[in-house]
């Protein structure tokens, strides 16, 4: 469908946000993914999240690797610069881009093949380096673009469409991210927009490395009843920690929440995430608790979702390295070149 141009027609009654932009201004090109692909719901969730929080589209950079998941950046925010890099290496490109300009929002989109197999090393290291960005893994447990091989996130016993069974232990990207020091870790389901949209908004507002593992079924190759990443299995075993609400910084908080029932977390930019209690007493600021919670549900064959972990007191790479306030890509000749006089001193030190 890539040859079809998206019509530019806007419904006259389309709502505008604080920037005077409509939802359409946050869309990308028409999707070329299979009909019903979970990834399209992720694109739609990003469009909604960015539009609702009035993000300037051109102040976002979208970076991806290779695979079905890595096509997603084409389908949202066409006014942003995008970079579809090489397989498994999005983290390094995003790291470099972030170092060059600390003032943009960075959205990294990857998949389970891209981040849990070929790019597992780079994934681990971008978490360690605390790059200030939102990193989304569209996780379908399969290699869609090469027609349905098992990926490293597929559970043991999970079967492909052709009947191949996963013999090896899977990699849980969320627990891995928590272990390695990610300061915002969430899991969601592409089919649960109500949960996913506020998580994306909170991830974009979080200062530090925000990671969302999104179970996103592959309708063509991995939507079987034997797959832990299919629609059926996900819906049936979906454990939502709590309902999440995101309140942007500019919005006045009018709704009153019962402090005994709900938990609010104020992010760096002043926006607030509300976690409505859903039968448990979950504390997302406790690392050990988060890991325990995920593993407990995993043992029961369930997928724990929601905001799993948040730590607002970490520093990002720029703070750790004490870089100047001005983005590197705005530093001028004058800022950077020490001039010949310093060179005379350097020469003298080699005589």
């Amino acid at each position: 469908m890539s040859y079809i141009r998206k019509p530019k027609f806007h419904h006259p009654d389309l709502k505008t946000n604080d920037l005077g932009l409509t939802r359409r201004d946050y869309e990308g090109t028409l999707t070329t993914l299979c009909g019903g692909c979970g990834h399209d719901s992720i694109s739609a969730a990003i469009v909604q999240a960015a539009a609702d929080m009035s993000l300037s589209p051109h102040r976002v950079a979208k970076i991806s690797g290779i695979g079905c998941s890595s096509k997603i950046p084409s389908y949202f925010l066409s006014k942003s610069h995008g970079f579809n890099s090489v397989h498994g290496r999005m983290p390094s490109v995003a790291t470099g881009a972030n170092i060059a300009n600390k003032d943009l929002h960075y959205v990294g989109i990857s998949g389970d093949g891209d981040s849990a197999s070929i790019g597992l090393g780079q994934f681990c290291h971008i978490v360690r380096r605390r790059i200030n960005m939102l990193y989304i893994v569209a996780n379908n447990g399969t290699y869609g673009l090469t027609k349905g091989q098992l990926s490293a996130t597929a559970d043991v016993g999970s079967k492909t469409k052709s009947g191949e069974e996963s013999l090896y232990d899977n990699i849980d990207m969320a627990t891995l991210a928590i272990e390695l020091g990610a300061s915002f870790v969430a899991r969601s389901f592409s089919g649960d927009k109500k949960q996913l949209v506020p998580l994306i908004q909170a991830g974009l507002s979080h200062k530090g490395f925000a990671f969302i593992d999104v179970v996103s079924p592959c309708v063509t190759f991995n939507n079987t009843n034997f797959s832990s990443h299919g629609y059926k299995n996900t819906w049936e075993n979906y454990i939502s920690l709590s309902q999440v609400d995101f309140v942007p910084m500019k919005e006045e908080i009018t709704t009153s929440y019962d402090p005994g029932q709900d938990k609010s977390i104020t992010l760096h930019d002043g926006s607030v995430i509300h976690l409505h209690k859903a039968g448990n007493d979950y504390d997302p600021t406790n690392k050990e608790n988060a890991l325990q919670h995920i593993n407990k549900h995993k043992k029961e064959g369930e997928i724990a979702t929601g905001l799993l972990y948040i730590n607002q007191s970490t520093s990002d790479l720029h703070e750790l390295q004490a870089t100047v306030d001005k983005p590197f890509n705005l530093l001028s000749n004058h800022d950077l070149c020490p001039g010949n006089e310093s060179l005379i001193d350097i020469n003298n030190s080699f005589r």
Binding site: S85, R89, G96, I99
Partner: protein, 618 residues
């Protein structure tokens, strides 16, 4: 006092400012700084000198050598044969002594007697009880170890007539701020000097005489010069993975950034250095940063270049600037990691799958390392493609006499074709890969520039002039042709070859990089034999048109390089249609710098053969 030379009746030709001193040490014993001090003192006496460190891939215990060539004529390449061996390593002492030229000298530690099989009748032995001296003078084992090296430098100053004040001043300079270390070091020098003067007739027939050849020059290694060049060239991002012999490039960048790139007032850094998890991530960060408008580089060597191949193809095809410094070492595979080679020429020229080509720069001295480092950022941004600066271990890690580094304060960085917000406003439709100027170089924009103009999708998959994905073969081919045109345009931005004389002689020599160090010596020696050649030193790839012309204008060309497979010759054949029959390859690939003697011998042999052949055919 022993007058060795007359007593032994060994014929020793007196040599002033023209000899080789070689130090054979055990690595990790602290010999490197003592040996450096020896070389630098000769530099400070105004005499041309070139030290070559031949070291193992190891931290402690293996043999290491430090070869110092002194040459009043300024021949700074390597030469076979040792005039004075400082034999400090029992593991290698036999072969070290064997390598000394007849009439030469062996300085050794006589605390333990030399075994009979080591004695040669045609060289002079200079026994000094180094171990006994330091045992008596110093209490701590570590001091004894370190100062033993300084004692032999002291002895050498008597043997070779090194200005003692030069040495003591160097010690004071080196340990400024650590005053406690100055007096034991100077004392050690004196101990060696005294022992040599008391026991031997000093100086020896081979000796130094102060000269004036190093006025205004500096003694610096290529990697340091690159590091400084990156600071001057405006690099803000360095991402790298530790790899000998490239590591010291980033060390130098770090050192000079900490000195010159701290924001006054805030004390914050105008640079970022990331030690990556591997070379793939290193080049990925460079590409990400360059894409976003910062000047970024990585430094690596052969194994790193192998890992970076896929990303290099991405940067070539999606047209993202990147700067790489490849400090070549002997491959293939792990090869000889601490030995020099020019073996990555082809793997860099065409790195990555598919039709690719990369800009290569070939510095041959530290001044050029500095210049090319700074220039490489302008070139990469002007041409929107990776630039690989090909240095090697020899140039990168050894101190070399160089012209001083210079910077024109009126120079402004060439950031290439980048549209800013104002320019975007005035443009009706922006196409990332449109060739508006007909030179094959399109216009780029940085992310975040304009609210609704100038955004595009960078990708390694086929794309049209607007950066949109396409599988239309004709559009793909058009794009590939435009990039080929860009590489034709590239030539005018690259340093031209250094050509002596076109058409003057029938014979020519083509070479690049560290091979250059041997050339003047070859030319002088051949001139004496009535043979004259023109020379062409290549400084960049793709080649200038002059390169083809030079090849066409000569009957026979010696292509001199330091790899097994004659990679430079192949490159000239591919790119300049050079004929095989007129290209005579001279190669050296044993991991140490090629010598003038090897080149000269091969040229003379080839001329003899061709004359013989002519005789037969006549």
């Amino acid at each position: 006092m022993k007058d060795l030379v007359s007593a032994n009746k060994i014929n020793t030709i007196p040599k002033i400012n023209d000899f080789i001193v070689k130090f054979a040490n055990v690595n990790g014993s602290g010999s490197a700084s003592a040996n450096n001090m020896f070389a630098k003192s000769i530099f400070r006496m105004g005499i041309p000198v070139s030290p070559h460190n031949i070291f193992p891939s190891n931290i402690q215990g293996l043999p290491t050598w430090y070869e110092v060539r002194v040459s009043e004529k300024g021949y700074l390449g390597r030469r076979e044969g040792v005039d004075l061996m400082v034999a400090m390593n029992e593991q290698t002492i036999k072969s070290d002594i064997d390598s000394v030229l007849p009439g030469g000298f062996v300085l050794h530690d006589s605390s333990k007697p030399l075994s009979d099989e080591l004695i040669r009748g045609d060289v002079h032995f200079l026994p000094i009880p180094l171990k006994d001296i330091v045992l008596k003078e110093f209490d701590k084992p570590s001091q004894r170890q370190l100062f033993k090296n300084i004692v032999y430098v002291g002895a050498l100053s008597a043997f070779l007539d090194i200005d003692f004040e030069v040495l003591t001043k160097m010690i004071s300079d080196q340990f400024r701020g650590k005053e406690k270390l100055i007096s034991p070091n100077i004392h050690s020098l004196e101990l060696g000097y005294q022992y040599a003067s008391d026991n031997f007739k000093c100086p020896l027939p081979i000796k130094l005489k102060p000269s004036n050849k190093n006025e205004n020059k500096i003694l610096i290694n290529g990697n340091t010069a690159i590091g400084v060049g990156c600071v001057y060239g405006g690099a803000t991002v360095a991402s790298w993975y530790p790899l000998t012999p490239s590591t010291s490039v980033v060390d130098a960048f770090d050192k000079y950034c900490k000195r010159l790139r701290i924001e006054s007032g805030s004390g914050k850094n105008k640079f970022s250095i990331v030690q990556a998890e591997d070379e793939i991530a290193a080049i990925g960060m460079v590409i990400g940063a360059s894409w976003n408008g910062a000047r970024a580089f990585t430094a690596t060597s052969g194994p790193g270049i192998s890992l970076m191949q896929e990303f290099l193809g991405l940067a070539y095809f999606s047209e993202v600037p990147a700067v790489l410094f490849n400090i070549q070492r002997a491959g293939p595979s792990t090869g000889m990691p601490t030995r020099t080679q020019q073996g990555d020429l082809l793997s860099c020229a065409y790195a990555s799958h598919g039709d690719t080509k990369h800009i290569l720069l070939f510095p041959s001295n530290p001044k050029e390392c500095f210049d090319f480092a700074a220039d490489s950022f302008d070139i990469a941004e002007r041409l929107q493609t990776p630039v690989i600066v090909l240095s090697d271990l020899e140039l990168g890690m050894n101190e070399q006499i160089s012209e001083p580094l210079e910077w024109d304060d009126n120079r402004r960085y060439d950031r290439g074709k980048v549209l800013n917000e104002e320019q975007l406003k005035s443009i009706e439709r922006y196409g990332r890969y449109q060739d508006s100027d007909g030179d094959g170089i399109p216009y780029r924009t940085y992310p975040g520039t304009h609210p609704n103009k100038g955004s595009y999708f960078t990708r390694g998959s086929s794309h049209d002039a607007n950066a949109a994905y396409t599988e239309d073969g004709d559009i793909y081919a058009e794009g590939m042709d435009r990039i080929a045109l860009k590489f034709k345009t590239a030539i005018k931005y690259l340093p031209e070859p250094d050509i002596s004389n076109i058409k003057k002689h029938k014979l020519g020599m083509i070479y690049l990089g560290t091979t250059t160090s041997a050339i003047q010596e070859v030319l002088d020696s051949l001139t004496k034999k009535g043979i004259s050649l023109d020379t062409m030193r290549l400084r960049a790839f793709p080649f200038h048109l002059d390169v083809k012309e030079f090849i066409e204008n000569h009957e026979l060309l010696y292509v001199i390089e330091q790899n097994r497979d004659a990679q430079l010759k192949s490159l000239l054949k591919i790119e300049c249609n050079a004929l095989e029959e007129k290209m005579h390859s001279i190669r050296s690939y044993n991991g140490v710098l090629i010598t003038a003697q090897k080149i000269e011998t091969e040229i003379l042999d080839s001329l003899k053969t061709s004359e013989k052949n002519k005789g037969i055919s006549a």
